[in-house]
Symmetry: C2
Subunit: 472 residues, 2 copies
Amino acid sequence: MSVKTSISGFPELLPHERALENAVLSEVRSCFELFGFVDIETRAVEPVSALLSKGETSKEVYLLTRLQDPAVDMDSPKQLGLHFDLTVPFARYVFENAGYLQFPFRRTSIGKVWRGERPQNGRFREFVQADVDIVNRSENGEELPIFHDVDIVKTVDYTLRRLERFNIPGATIQINNRKLLDGAYTVFGIKDKIETMRTLDKMDKIGQTSVLNALLDSGEDELSAKKCLEFAKIVATTPEELLNNSLIKEVQVEDVAKGGLEELIHLLSAANAFHKMSADESDARVLANLRITRGLDYYTGSVFETFLDGFENFGSIASGGRYDNLVGCSIKGASSESPKFPGVGMSIGITRLMSIILDVNSAPKKTVPTLVLVAVNSEQVRTDSDFVVDYLRHKNISAISSPRAWKFGKQIEYAEKLGIEFVWFIDEHGNYSVKNITTKVQEEVDDSTFKDEVKLKKIFGKCVDDATLQVI
Amino acid sequence: MSVKTSISGFPELLPHERALENAVLSEVRSCFELFGFVDIETRAVEPVSALLSKGETSKEVYLLTRLQDPAVDMDSPKQLGLHFDLTVPFARYVFENAGYLQFPFRRTSIGKVWRGERPQNGRFREFVQADVDIVNRSENGEELPIFHDVDIVKTVDYTLRRLERFNIPGATIQINNRKLLDGAYTVFGIKDKIETMRTLDKMDKIGQTSVLNALLDSGEDELSAKKCLEFAKIVATTPEELLNNSLIKEVQVEDVAKGGLEELIHLLSAANAFHKMSADESDARVLANLRITRGLDYYTGSVFETFLDGFENFGSIASGGRYDNLVGCSIKGASSESPKFPGVGMSIGITRLMSIILDVNSAPKKTVPTLVLVAVNSEQVRTDSDFVVDYLRHKNISAISSPRAWKFGKQIEYAEKLGIEFVWFIDEHGNYSVKNITTKVQEEVDDSTFKDEVKLKKIFGKCVDDATLQVI
């Protein structure tokens, strides 16, 4: 299986692939409900001013114009663009609806986002993200304590574990903390911290030497740049490993770094304890990796990326972080006196994940939700078959009539092709019988069985309780 | 309740409203599965050339440009626009993927569409449609028989009936047939049939006199125009009413009109028979109304509109029709030698329906999927509460810990506000108890109950089997 695309970067799935995607989405939704997240949906568009106010995203935005008036006006507050993630619209939604929400507000949103960039392996122009975020309204100095970051990582860890039933490998969530980086860069004497983080974010793509050269080119001292690179190599699965590292010891004298380190350590140990509680394995699945910076400017504390074992080159399949000031800057009507809405969240890249899931699963036999095909003896008596179809549907049994009055062998073949489990026959005397396509057993349906819902449903066994597609 | 919108025409829902919308969508999806429709999702964009090739839609299209290169090029095959319905993309999808599909292909798609027009009452720029369509591949002269039109009307009739649990009134599906109109217009001596249909489509908006004047202005004879108007007033719930009408008698001498009339009569009686089979009422719910024309050019036979009793002014909440040649004209790579894909379908306007459903239902008490709030005694012992939360989640019981170690009264109040049914307490000796917020009953949870999943779930009664939101 592979994702088809007739416009580059805009993937579309075949019916059996979409059935698999729906099963994945349904699993993700039920995990998010288990962790107490409320579903909301934001519109597809935002004012461009809001989309461009944060981070290195300008190249990614699709603008909207109308056929009757196709001029783009970047200075107009009415100029709209398609959202490139679900976090920026969520922050705006929270600001606009704060009076109607209970804080801390735990929200999930699953939907499409668009990026106008050149598509490459694992990257798309239109794709689906599944987000969880927790946002607080910061009043009287109330913040959003670090245990919310832990809960976000737990949610994604648990969800990815449940998705392993779709034959994907285990996932490692790699975490870092922007405050730790910020403080460390102070200690190292870095001049442009934001630029340095952006450059380091490209390490996997361009390699260590190019990163070093880029840092030197942008005016950093060689010693500072080299320390940044060394720092970015630190990886740890336990607090002890972090605390014993000499560079960590060097930077934690700085207050901001110390605060960030404490958050990172708390998150690392709490999330790994949760994972071990449930995973029947002793491996740590949450890893401190000080190379993780995230490209977007709006993160202020924890940052997360997630890699599937063996698919590391494919890129992160779940990313996010802590954003303490996302609302304040970008939203119409917000001012320095507006309440702050600190938040933390992660986003699972469903489309990217699906391209792996489609590769490692064979096509399901069943491609329709239908349980029963009612055979048609001739077009003249199609209404007899329609009566049975309508009757079954009213008993909550998914049914269709055969599209043509083919020979019975061909009607059975048609059911088999679609993966429909049962074929219903009407003989010349109007008697009913049902054939199980898998077992080939055909049994009569007498009048008392037909009229008794419980008896009727017994014919279809377990299938009838689960009308939705079983894809795995 | 009312739909909020901070950009005109782009509605967004509050969490409890979205919960209601999700319940509606879930009901719609399970009805569509019952009728054997397969879910697919098409991308949000199409080449503008495909979007503009049919019907009076040019004013409605949003074009896409990229920030780095914002010029619109209407002559380029790469110029993209957002789809304004789900039918045009579906036709293109069928053409591209025909080799992988089983025909007749019964597909559902539920998704957003966009129209750049001025929003008015009941109209939006971004809205959700829920579509069902049946498409055949026409080879060796095989067409798509009229019983598929019947099945589409049955599907929507049944679905709208199931949606009555959301306190909406009954719906009347009004049907007509373009072939009947076409043949009648031949008999009446109409010169521009397409223009006449478009003008008649505006009857409800601009009134009879304006329609007559518009027909005269566009060059039709007075006698012809008046006959069209008379014809458009014909309404019938039975075949007999139609056949006894003198104008119908006049036009059925014409072959095309006769063919259309036969289809209309078959559809009318079959769909009403289905409705009466299930609806515990004798009222006809499918009505032949010869005023219905549908604005879009691509319909070639049956056309449908649907009105909720008492909300007729609100506009149609489910529309569609038969399209025998939709694929042929608009799609890249299609030629006169390509196979034809005749189809029939309807689209339920979910967003429009939601604005009614939100008006007639009060806000549900429960706004989160969470079943249990685990109280926190102090921030120092939060991990004790987190342990319980994590344990419950692993038993598939939706839980969160209290966001703050408030006094217990305030923690209970917080659960009540969110509609969380149970609060879990840990006393100073580490003993557990659970309080039911509704009954105020608090019961101890001893160690054996805690460790026995069956016993544990009994505490939460029926709630635990249905973790998803109950909104009605």
